[in-house]
């Protein structure tokens, strides 16, 4: 029997497991499934696009790359503020936790707003997901793949912002402490994942 098992036996605690508490481990496992989900979608995008490269005019002609690049930066900054929030509560700094969580929520909301504005602008130019009504440059493929990919990412960010609001409210009610703040850490994991997916998406959809 391993030393860890012997210790577990003597102390009557459960086996050491992976040394990561349940909620955090569960979030990592869930994020693994999300990796598979986005890989399926991104893989489909790549296959469809490089089968019909002429249908996908250079991103800059239709999409607003500078604005979205700025938006990417905003999302990355929101990950930084998330880390700052976590670091704050690790030190027991309640005010810092609240401040940085609030910043993260706001930056996330700004990201979504800018994405929404871009969607509206594109639709006004006739760039829509449906085959039948597509009128702008490129072919139907472009619209549907663009909206599906960015749309699902946006849905994940939206869910993230909603959960973040929940966590922020809890923080303002003083429910996290230096000893007990797993919720902040687990939220942070999800947020960083959503950010990472965006960086990959932005590169593939907007830059390449």
């Amino acid at each position: 029997m391993s030393q860890a098992a012997t210790l577990a036996l003597e102390s009557r605690q459960p086996m050491p497991g992976i040394g990561v508490y349940n909620q955090k481990f569960g979030m990592w496992v869930f994020l693994l499934s999300e990796v598979m989900f986005f890989t399926g979608l991104i893989g489909s995008y790549i296959i469809l696009r490089f089968a019909h490269p002429d249908a996908f005019t250079e991103p800059g002609r239709v999409l607003n790359v500078p604005l979205t690049a700025a938006n990417t930066f905003i999302l990355i900054v929101s990950s930084v503020t998330m880390v700052k929030a976590f670091a704050a509560i690790e030190l027991g700094d309640q005010r810092g936790l609240r401040r940085w969580l609030l910043a993260t929520v706001l930056l996330g909301a700004v990201f979504l707003s800018i994405q929404g504005v871009e969607y509206v602008k594109l639709a006004e130019h006739g760039f829509v997901p449906m085959v039948a009504s597509y009128a702008a440059e490129g072919a139907p493929l472009y619209g549907m793949t663009f909206y599906t990919l960015t749309g699902f990412h946006g849905a994940h960010v939206t869910i993230g912002v909603l959960c973040m609001i929940f966590v922020t409210v809890k923080a303002f009610r003083g429910r996290y402490s230096q000893a007990d703040h797993g919720g902040v850490e687990v939220m942070g994991l999800y947020w960083h994942f959503v950010d990472l997916v965006w960086i990959i998406l932005f590169t593939i959809v907007y830059l390449i």
């Binding site: 036996l9 508490y21 496992v29 499934s33 989900f37 000893a179």
Partner: protein
Amino acid sequence: MSTVATATAGEAQVHAGHDDRSFIRKYIFSTDHKVIGIQFLFMSLFFLVLGGLLAMGMRWQLAFPSDPAHPLPGGSLLPETMVNAGIVLPEFYNSMVTMHGTIMIFFAIMPLLVGVYANYLIPLQIGAPDMAFPRLNMASFWLAVPAAILILAGFFVEGGHAGAGWTSYPPLSVESGYSGVYNGQVLWTLSIIILGFSSLMGAVNYITTVVNMRAPGMTWFRLPLATWALFITAILILLAVPVLTGALILLLFDQVLGTAFYKPDAGGQPLLWQHLFWFFGHPEVYILILPAMGFVSEIIANGSRKPVFGYKAMVIAMISISFLGWIVWGHHMFQSGMNPLLGASFMASTMVIAVPSAIKTFNWLGTMWRGDIHFHTPMLNAMAFVGMFVIGGLSGVFLASTPVDVQLHDTYFVVAHIHYVLFGGSLFAIFAAITFWFPKMFGRMMNETLGKVHFALTFVFFNLVFFPMHRLGSNGMMRRISDPTQYEHLQAFQPTNRMISMWAFALFAAQLIFAFNFFWSLFRGKKAGPNPWRANTLEWSTPSPPPHGNFATTPVVYRGPYEYSSPESDEDYLPQDRPPAERPTPAPEPVPAGG
């Protein structure tokens, strides 16, 4: 490192020693893994019967193709768009084929193997009070319910239910102009998407629980093989189902939003669906067999009163099967026009999977060899699994060979193969598991005589139904065809088809014995103690049924799960949590005189 407070008020209530939960919290919206497992049990048994009825409808049509002299029984109850003057319309036959497959795979076998037994067994076998995330577990079941409602609703909408096969290939599944079905297909897609979320939630729970909540002394290589199998299956679900979900979402968009992911004339690719679907689809079939293998290992060791032969090899074999299962999906697509070199690589990897499967088979035989075999109902069903799985596996080797598959793809040879592994394999294992763990779940034994009669009839009829299909397939009978007599080369096989149908009706009728046994035993079965099978794993150290929280005190594990006929025990079993006997300290050596 941060800590997390886990106890909720409700749990604190229970740990105080008494259970103050209301009826609804105890039996309807329960977070107890045992209750959730039993909820899945009743739901999946219902769908097992429904799937069987659909098969009976198919077999009637195949026995009497479009024959007005033999109208479909009950056909007058169905609308004229499905059954006209007693004759099954081809569109309805397509729906029956589709829904038989869909319901059996997604709503019967998967929930029976995973929804029931991962939920019921994992915490008990590892010595935990419940799952890592009990409320997520409850959500997982209650999310499966709307999925079930949607899949049933499809039978009642205009155009009938989905008719593109359980594999739902576009363009057939997208263009209602080809299939005649619209609403049913959309409902099908939505239902499986929702069911996927339910499965994923379960997978996160099972993985976290097994990794983090094992009782003291329960090291990885002391886990029962049922838990190992369910753990590995959960990882497969975690990684495969999201790919299916993505593919289904794109399909849904094609169906309702007018996109063209899979429509070739607008730049989409039907092959994209095939790759995405089978990348999920192949791990899916291992999801459908691995838990069954785990149960069979438990039951064969128990029935032979011997340790599992080669426990570590069994674990490594399951891990190998699950790894290899990711790189073989192309063998479902050999006829899609792929580069033969690619086909050869899929053929090679597919053949390799036979090796760990064979290791497991020989280990089951080695377990039984020279054992003190008790031929109780679970043991009989488990032994049938081994034999039937071998036959199914052998037909799989024929299909794996790309040039042979040219002849056999989409024929009844494939139907024979899948039913030997899914019925001969998974379903016999399910019968074994239900009978074996019934006393733990309900505190009563199932009737042994009825169990043996059911087993014998099922075994005989099953083989009479499915073995002839090997010949039908290799002689050119194609799948999913409502009237084989329209082809001259199949007319000679009509007597075979009719005979298969007769045996199929008998097979279905024999299941009534199991159903009667199950429900009768719930109320009148012989009362069971904690360990009626004299088994070793931790669930047999609890009362039957176990209380909320499972163990009065956290068990401590001292040994592996298969110490049957051990010299350290007076009986022929030795539970994992029985403390080792105190060894008497030897008397001290007498000191020799003179120093």
